[in-house]
């Protein structure tokens, strides 16, 4: 079920009504054109050759036999195509920042020597068909000198560990200094001195692939000095800018077309190496080139969520007040710093003394990068299991313990609004928390044990700059130009609905133009749950401007049009703007076979005003499902002897099937804090942040043993029960 509580909110004409996606018909009838559906005259097909070794130096590469194969048009390797892939490795793992990228010490190229993980790309072939391209790869002779490798982040920092780079395995920060990321608030040692009890535990989480349905692909087409790139991207503006810089072009020389895509979940931010490889092959061959990755290549060659090891130490008074929190942690980044390696969660607590030290570490595993809420689910799992354990150890209800210790507005840091307490209390009541949780964990008689867990969060919902253009003609047909792509949440529909509301016309009168950098203005990109808020505000402002023009000059007549655009720079007046959520889960654990089944799943979110209830609900559900998969199933195992990945792909990573997915109740408490378009906040990443923490807490409550490692597979449960 789903439910929307809108107390005190003015009902609107379009927003807040379940609205089918404006492109639903195209999608379900096969008319939607995804990148792989494009066919251009003379187009070649490309394939990439990848390292079979976790760490090796290429001694020689001989492409002559591949080049001689009939149908092969271009072969490029690390020797003759040294294109820097800026977004592939960045000091500090930061994004969208030209100076930081320029200063990056450990640069990544589209092809690399030495190779640093199984799947590192070293060459590519373009040929007249796919089969010839694949055959040509087998004809490239590569001689490797194998090097020692390291897979685990903690081991990578030990004395004498194999070195991924000469400077060592600790990743450089954004200044280029080899230091961990440290956040130090208050006086943590003083806080521990105040505590009556101190608790410690180690938590670890695995590598999770984004597992979006559509693997990477890219179609490059040069028209003179201009590159047209058809590619699935979660941010066409940033993809254009990154691609232009990597190829030594100006932004206007690159056109990104990303109309339909089969999911992203953070896997398709910015530009990817596929874009640069396709562009390089196409330029050399003089014809369009379509590069496609297989599922296995996509799994191993792009990126997924970073695995972590988190050591917590928490000081607490007998009355439940937390006086100090400390975390030392390690994030396995693979051999390139594509993203931060962040571990969030401690900042959801108000404790005045907090110390956090995160070591992002190079390893010879596949690269880590963005995945829906990049820093949050694994961090919330760690810290919220730590705190749940503390609550039970001191004999408190974890909900009451949270209400006592969670972050609240202060005079120094005010919020645009604050619903966390309401969200938690509402969820506890709906779920019947008191009846479902076991006051003594693991107290059910017999081997089938039930228990309940909860988790909570706040997540940034800040405003920022994006652009929109809106036009009206004499037939009162409105056209909205926004540089969004639809990675799944329905951005096109959402933008159209916001425009319709602001223009005071039905959605049917609004056509949305999207997904093309030559047609659409800058948009922030489908990452960080920002499109609805940031581009949405621009849509509202452009619409307001157009309405003023119409009021001043009347509707255009004949072939005239009126056009308005906006690039606002909104602020939240110095306040922090957050969305809030709490998840409550009841599980049943069959302790004889280590199986976990979810019996009840209740979510309560405050994401501001909900634009489109049906897609908002499904965002929470879909993200929660991913989080359950992270909690109970998914991992990427490596063979310790050879450094080979063993479990890539949907089958081996044990993703949830439809039959595994429980009913997920979704409740929104709707508010309008006066910021964001009509008060909308974020929803896309919220669900995944909470699921691993809540599920793991529920398992611990059922079996009476804390599960300190994700995924909570049966061998871990049976091991704990043995």
């Amino acid at each position: 079920m789903s439910e929307f509580t809108r107390e005190g909110l003015e009902p609107l004409a379009t927003l807040g009504n379940d609205t089918p996606r404006i492109d639903a018909i195209e999608r379900v009838t096969g008319q939607a054109k995804y990148t792989r559906d494009w066919k251009l005259p003379g187009m070649l097909y490309a394939r990439v050759l990848r390292s079979p070794h976790p760490h090796a130096r290429i001694v020689s590469i001989d492409t002559s036999a591949a080049e001689a194969l009939p149908g092969v048009r271009s072969v490029i390797t690390y020797e003759n195509a040294q294109v820097v892939w800026g977004a592939g490795s960045v000091n500090g793992g930061r994004q969208y920042n030209d100076p930081t990228k320029d200063a990056t010490i450990h640069r990544r190229y589209i092809f690399n020597n030495p190779v640093r993980f199984v799947g590192d790309s070293i060459a590519a072939v373009a040929a007249t068909d796919r089969h010839i391209a694949e055959e040509a790869l087998t004809l490239i002779a590569v001689e490797y000198e194998q090097l020692p490798f390291v897979l685990e982040p903690e081991q990578a920092l030990e004395e004498g560990a194999p070195q991924v780079y000469a400077e060592g395995n600790l990743c450089p920060d954004f200044r280029g200094e080899f230091a961990p990321m440290i956040s130090n608030i208050g006086d943590v040692e003083a806080g521990f001195a105040e505590a009556d009890q101190i608790f410690e535990e180690r938590y670890e989480t695995g590598f999770i692939h984004n597992a979006q349905m559509e693997p990477r692909c890219s179609l490059a087409h040069w028209q003179g000095d201009k590159l047209v790139l058809y590619t699935p991207s979660q941010g066409i503006s940033n993809c254009r800018h990154d691609t232009a810089r990597d190829l030594g072009l100006q932004d206007h020389q690159v056109q990104i077309i990303s109309k339909y895509m089969g999911g992203g979940f953070g896997n398709k931010n910015q530009n990817q190496d596929a874009d640069l490889i396709a562009a390089t092959l196409s330029r050399r061959a003089g014809v369009p080139v379509m590069l496609e990755y297989s599922r296995r290549e996509d799994w191993l060659g792009v990126h997924g969520r970073w695995p972590t090891v988190q050591y917590y130490r928490v000081g607490v008074k007998d009355d439940g007040e937390v006086t100090a929190m400390e975390m030392r942690a390690y994030s396995g980044m693979g051999p390139y710093r594509k993203n931060s390696g962040g571990i969030s969660g401690m900042d959801a607590y108000g404790c005045p003394n907090r110390y956090r030290e995160i070591h992002p570490v190079y390893t010879n595993r596949t690269t880590s990068g963005n995945f829906r809420a990049p820093s949050e689910p694994h961090g919330h799992y760690g810290v919220e299991n730590m705190m749940d354990e503390v609550a039970y150890q001191i004999g408190m209800d974890p909900v009451e313990f949270t209400l006592m210790n969670m972050r609240r507005p202060t005079e120094q840091q005010q919020f645009t609004n604050y619903s966390l307490e309401e969200v938690i209390r509402n969820g506890a009541e709906r779920f019947n928390w008191q009846a479902r949780r076991r006051v003594t964990p693991g107290s059910d008689e017999g081997p089938i044990k039930r228990g309940a867990g909860f988790s909570f969060m706040m997540f940034r919902a800040g405003v920022g700059t994006s652009s929109a253009i809106v036009r009206v003609n004499a037939n009162e047909e409105y056209t909205l130009y926004v540089g969004v792509t639809d990675i799944g949440p329905g951005a096109k529909t959402t933008m159209g609905m916001i425009a319709a509301e602001a223009l005071e016309v039905p959605l049917s009168q609004v056509e949305v133009v999207w997904g093309d950098t030559d047609r659409c203005p800058y948009s922030v990109g489908e990452s960080g749950s920002r499109t609805t808020i940031m581009t949405g505000i621009a849509v509202v402002e452009a619409a307001e401007d157009l309405k003023r023009q119409i009021a001043d000059r009347g509707m255009p007549t004949g072939s005239d049009v009126l056009i308005a655009s906006a690039t606002p720079t909104p602020t939240t007046d110095g306040m922090t703007r957050q969305c809030f959520g709490a998840h409550f889960v009841e599980v049943e654990v069959d302790t004889r076979i280590g199986a976990t089944r979810i019996l009840k799943y209740t979510t309560v979110h405050e994401s501001g005003r909900i634009i489109n209830p049906s897609t908002a609900r499904d965002q929470i559900r879909g993200a929660t499902i991913q989080g359950i998969g992270q909690a109970l199933h998914e991992d990427l195992l490596y063979d310790p002897q050879s450094g080979q990945p063993l479990t890539p792909g949907y089958y081996r990573a044990r993703h949830l099937t439809h039959k595994d997915i429980p009913d997920i109740d979704v409740h929104f408490i709707e508010v309008d804090d006066g910021y964001g378009p009509f008060g909308a906040k974020t929803a896309g990443e919220s669900g995944i942040i909470l699921a691993p923490a809540a599920v793991a807490n529920a398992v611990a409550n059922a079996i009476g043993k804390r599960m300190t490692s994700l995924p909570i597979t049966r061998d871990k449960i049976l091991g704990a029960m043995a």
């Binding site: 199933h633 195992l637 099937t657 091991g719």
Partner: protein
Amino acid sequence: MKALTNVNATSFAEAASAAQSARQQGQAVAFSAGGTDLLQQIKDGTDNADVIINLRTIGDGRSIGSDGAGIAIGGLVTLTELSQDPLVLSGLSALAQAADSVGTPQIRNVATLAGNVTQRPWCWYYRNGFNCFKAGGNECFSVNGENGQHAIFGGGPSYIVHPSDVAPALVAFDAVFQVTGPNGDREVSAEDFFVLPITNPERENSLTENELLTGVRIPTVSSSTVSTYHKIMDREAWTHAEVGVAAVIQRDGNQVQNAKVVLAGVAPIPWRVQAVEEFLAGQQIGEAVAREAGEIGLQGAQPLSNNAHKLPMISAAIERAILNLAAG
């Protein structure tokens, strides 16, 4: 993907001789019925077939029928057909349940009985292209590696687990396997069809080159026989058994006259637990007996470094399978 030759066979005998002549010309050969797994293996490079002999063009081997001696099931019967056939449902519940537990509906709609029984292991070392025993090498990488899903019984020198759900049910029903080769037909008991790695670490069964499984015959099952297939999976669909139990019990009231208990997912072949069968004979089915049977099922277990968690699962699965068969 490499170039392949497809040969449409019109009979099993023709398929066998086509395989023989292709091999005589030095080509690698694969038989394809449903092809659900084979084509992926070829794409992955874990099967190097030059010639695919397509069995879907054969008219025989597609029916399920009974005569005085029992039930005959063609090798090309799909798993969906097997799981929905009235004869199988009424007399061979364990077989119907096993077939219904395989993969997904899409897979079951094309995958066949013979293909399921003869499919290659799903050990991730083999499937990831390691040069292991199953790929013609001389090492089992699971021994010092990630062996959480590997063999508890009958392992060495290879520690794969047999991937079929259907096969343990067939062993439990004393099925006879019908085999066709270039030199004619032969029959072999289900139990003798499968071979341990100590005998042949490269293959899972006794089919010689150019032979293929064409069908099975199941002797008449008495009306006092009940059966079940209990499968523990890591998710609710599209995965092989972590532990499976096919149990066939002939009973009088609640008293066991004769039991066959065969495990899936724990050994390189469908693993008969004879100690459990012997223990059950003459016992009244009940919780204590079932529990003891589960414990006896662990006799001879030799877990590897990372798969001891399967032991309690084996006990629980045997116990629950037996309790499923208690008279209602």
